[in-house]
Amino acid sequence: MTQARYKVGERVRVMKAYPPGHIRTPFYIRGHTGTVERLCGAFPNPEELAQMRDGLPAQPLYRVRFLQKDVWPGYKGPDGDVVEIEIYQHWLEKA
């Protein structure tokens, strides 16, 4: 498996990329910065699995917490509201 690069509490940015194929990184979160909430373990890369390959080495998977007000312009709720999303390491970079 690929070594986990980020620690809980670390700030990370989701890559702003638009590759074709089966992607588990939601469109709306690409390019946004959040905080690592936890490391979930390592899982075969779903983009590779979708191409009938083994998806190995397994990719570390994180839960990343984003402030809603950073994600949605004009978010109507309080500033403290958050959205938490699972993101694979190869989609993250240090913020």
Partner: protein, 201 residues
């Protein structure tokens, strides 16, 4: 089975299902009996399983701690097998309200809640819950104070999520079984609270 009812043409997806099923059987990959059993098992999984987990967490603080640390392992203690995926349990408190959505498809903790409701899979729920959760929760009849933080969990990859709702007031001394009766499917998705103990609960 022989069709004796009135004739209606199959929909696109029904036709796909029949074709795929018959092919799998024809090629010897599955038997009709295996498919029937799988459907039966799938229908047999209901939110009562999740309610059992929640009720235990309400009465047993150590179990609650283990459940929040590792949902999959804690469920195994209750004889609930949650295979091939990891369960993350998120706890509602007076300060935090959690709600689950899968914006990419319709990931759902089926082993604990059974088959998801249609609205969970609808485009409206999936797109709106993530960007205006408070408005959507209001439409479900849940009005949250501004002081309560809303945490939306977008179930995008290998984890599955279960909300641990708050234990309702006035339930002190209730048996685990009677507590479980207050835990609804919707409260474990996070679009409502657990039922208050009324005359009928």
């Amino acid at each position: 089975m022989k069709d004796t009812g009135s004739y209606k043409p199959l929909t696109y997806f029904q036709l796909m299902e029949v074709s795929l099923r018959e092919l799998l059987v024809e090629k010897g990959l599955l038997t009709e009996e295996q498919i029937r059993r799988e459907v039966e098992d799938m229908r047999g999984r209901t939110p009562e399983r999740g309610a059992k987990v929640v009720a235990r967490a309400w009465v047993d603080a150590d179990f609650r701690k283990r459940l929040l640390e590792n949902g999959t392992k804690a469920c195994e203690e209750l004889g609930l097998d949650v295979p091939a995926l990891k369960l993350v349990v998120v706890e509602n408190t007076p300060q935090v309200h959690n709600v689950i959505v899968c914006t990419l498809c319709s990931c759902y903790p089926r082993m604990l809640l059974g088959i998801p409701p249609d609205w969970y899979k609808s485009r409206a729920y999936r797109s709106r819950m993530v960007r205006e959760p408070r408005e959507v929760l209001k439409e479900f009849g849940l009005h949250l104070e501004e002081e309560v933080q809303v945490r939306v969990h977008d179930s995008t990859a290998d984890m599955r999520y279960l909300v641990l709702p708050m234990r309702p007031a006035g339930t002190e001394g209730r048996s685990e079984e009677r507590l479980a009766a207050l835990v609804t499917r919707d409260s474990m998705i996070g679009v409502s609270l657990a039922k208050s103990p009324g005359k009928n609960a």
